[in-house]
């Protein structure tokens, strides 16, 4: 704390000496660069992805289990907006006919028709949201996660029009009064920006798995590197039939549903 304070004062002094702000910023970047080391415990993957074992999910001990959703909402300060049409959602349940529209035969087993399907951002490999964003406020990181820069987003909502999965939420109002219990480790958002699931990138960076995966007692959520043939995820995908949402659009969703 002390050193950074001193650095700050030094830089302030440089500014006062009349150096251009660009030079100062460069000096600052140089002195900081070495300090940005990745946590040695951080998870590494070419492409993070997830498989949802729907059978296990439906067999959860608790009736209407929402452990994963609650864990996610708490971890990310997801507000509970009372106006339904302006809700903010990261991870939630939909029915089969809604999660997979135009695919239902209407003769599916009752279970499939009635039971919940978890939906979230698919971290698409060819993400339309990233393609359309005019400011690169939404972008892909090097581990395949579709990220949000909430400080750059201008709130044009073009990404919401582009996402084929309705996975994005806009902060139509100030979300802070609607957060039931604040998690001090994760930033709250301002109104006027878009947000969505980011596979708990902040947890991955310190070697943890996503909050929802950790919270699921039924082990229904399998998380891993899609590019690693030996990952649990790939093994699960190799042994069970799985489907993805709207694969025909070429977005290459990274969320699989094991049937």
């Amino acid at each position: 704390m002390d050193t950074s304070r001193r650095d700050f004062l030094k830089i302030g002094g440089l500014c006062a000496l009349g150096l251009s702000s660009v030079e100062v910023a460069e000096a600052f970047a140089k002195s900081q660069a070495s300090k940005y080391l990745t946590n040695p415990k951080a998870g590494a993957a070419k492409r993070w992805a997830m498989a949802i074992d729907v059978k296990k999910c439906w067999k959860a001990e608790k009736k209407e289990c929402k452990d994963c959703i609650l864990a996610c909402d708490w971890a990310h300060n997801v507000p509970d907006i009372p106006v339904k049409r302006q809700e903010v959602k990261w991870l939630w349940n939909e029915k089969y006919e809604n999660a997979f529209p135009d695919q239902e035969s209407e003769l599916e087993p009752v279970e499939v028709k009635e039971k919940p399907f978890l939906v979230l951002c698919n971290q698409c490999a060819h993400a339309p949201c990233v393609r359309v964003c005019p400011t690169q406020a939404t972008f892909k990181n090097d581990q395949g996660i579709t990220m949000m820069d909430m400080h750059r987003c201008i709130g044009c909502r073009y990404c919401m029009a582009a996402c084929p999965y309705g996975a994005r939420s806009f902060n139509w109002r100030d979300p802070r009064p609607y957060i039931t219990k604040i998690n001090p480790d994760y930033p709250t958002r301002d109104r006027g920006v878009v947000e969505k699931c980011d596979f708990c990138v902040e947890r991955l960076a310190v070697g943890k798995i996503p909050a929802c995966v950790e919270a699921c007692k039924s082990k229904a959520l399998i998380f891993g590197d899609l590019d690693d043939p030996n990952s649990d995820l790939r093994k699960a995908l190799a042994s069970r039939y799985s489907i993805r949402r709207k694969p025909e659009l070429g977005t290459m969703p990274g969320v699989y549903y094991l049937m």
Binding site: V83, E94, D102, P134, R157
Partner: protein, 385 residues
């Protein structure tokens, strides 16, 4: 030249006063939006763009009115358009100002709008739209102003102005194309995912813009000594007629493709717009109004007397303008969001503050237009003596 806007008849001042009041009301509503965020609108996670963006797409079309007089006048040397050209260019300026304002009021973080230029993103159609729209605005300001100034001094405008004029023609096409690409390239918005979107934009632009221009020219003729000339109006009317027929034809193409292919995704939005789905039909009256006005517009345009009878002419232009408004300014954008990505029908109803902001932006556009027309007409009246 600007000082000509400051003096005027009582009617001119009353008109500006009225528009100013509407602007004030809109501004007040915008302050509430600034304070509380876009929660005060009827939009939501399903219909995430509403009236603001749909006004924007429609007005991009109106801005085309300029090219439809500029092109014949400067390229084909159609002398008849000599006097109406300035009205077209000034209408373009006012429309683009409205477009830009509508995009601004739609932003969640308007104070960050410069991020679009700070981080230019070539793969984003919105980035390109910002570029082409502002470029078109500047082009028309430069051209309109210089041509008028030259006319006032009784000289010929400079050579570089002519270059700008040539540039402005393909540029006008680009604003429609890019705005169409803005919505036509999104994978799951089936109502928008059509290759003729840009063509539809151009066709509807080339009828709604010139139709409004005719109406404005008639108003100017009635209240001032400036007459754009019957021949110019007649020629414009021919353009309106063809563009209108092509527009209607394009809508029929969409309906055919959707229903003959019988693909649910392509049919649902059209069904929602024209008959309603699951008992939800908020837009049905508007869309049938569009159909009625479009048919009436075509019938009037093809009526042999439309060029002789001013009442018929006004009716025809009103039908064209308002039908295209309903199709593009209401149905097209909102219809694209219904059904939502989950196959559900969640309707959109704008709120009162939202409507006030919309009215305020329109009033701003017409305020600018009135002032610009006042200047143009004063100059023309002076020159003529």
């Amino acid at each position: 030249m600007l000082e000509r806007a400051l003096s005027g008849s009582a009617a001119y001042k009353r008109l500006l006063g009225g528009l100013f009041i509407l602007m004030g009301l809109g501004f007040a509503a915008y302050l509430t939006q600034w304070e509380h965020g876009l929660m005060i609108t009827g939009m939501g996670r399903d219909v995430s763009w509403g009236l603001y963006i749909s006004q924007f797409t429609f007005l991009v079309g109106v801005a085309a009115s300029a090219v439809m007089v500029v092109l014949p006048y400067y390229i084909h040397d159609v002398k008849a358009f000599g006097r109406i050209t300035i009205l077209g260019e000034f209408l373009a300026i006012a429309s683009v100002i409205m477009c830009v304002t509508f995009v601004l009021v739609d932003l969640g973080k308007p104070m960050r709008v410069l991020n679009v230029l700070l981080y230019p993103t070539f793969n984003s159609m919105l980035f390109w739209d910002v570029v082409v729209l502002n470029g078109y605005l500047l082009l028309n300001i430069f051209i309109g102003w210089n041509v008028l100034e030259a006319e006032r001094k009784g000289t010929h405008y400079k050579k570089w102005v002519k270059t700008l004029i040539y540039i402005s023609i393909p540029w006008a096409v680009s604003i429609h194309t890019v705005t169409a690409f803005l919505i036509a390239g999104l994978p799951a918005r089936e109502y928008w995912l059509t290759a003729i979107m840009a063509a539809r934009f151009l066709a509807s632009a080339f009828c709604s813009g010139p139709a409004l221009l005719i109406l404005l020219a008639l108003i100017v003729r009635k209240y001032t000594k400036f007459d754009a000339g019957q021949e110019a109006i007649n020629k414009l009317l021919t353009i309106v007629t063809y563009a209108m027929l092509i527009s209607v034809f394009f809508v029929i193409l969409e309906v055919f493709t959707a229903f003959y292919s019988n693909i649910p995704g392509h049919m649902t939005a059209l069904k929602y717009l024209f008959v309603g789905v699951d008992g939800k039909h908020a837009l049905v009256p508007f869309m049938w109004m569009f159909v009625i006005l479009a048919i009436a517009g075509v019938a009037l345009l093809l009526h042999p007397n439309v060029r002789k009878n001013e009442k018929l002419l006004i009716a025809a232009c009103c039908c064209v303008f308002f039908s295209m408004y309903l199709d593009k300014g209401v149905g097209l954008i909102i219809g694209g969001f219904i059904p939502n990505m989950y196959g559900q029908i969640h309707q959109y109803v704008p709120t009162l503050p939202e409507l006030m902001i919309v009215a305020g932006v329109w009033a701003t556009g017409f305020f600018v237009l009135t002032v610009l027309y006042k200047i143009a007409v004063s100059v023309k009246e002076e020159v003529r003596g």
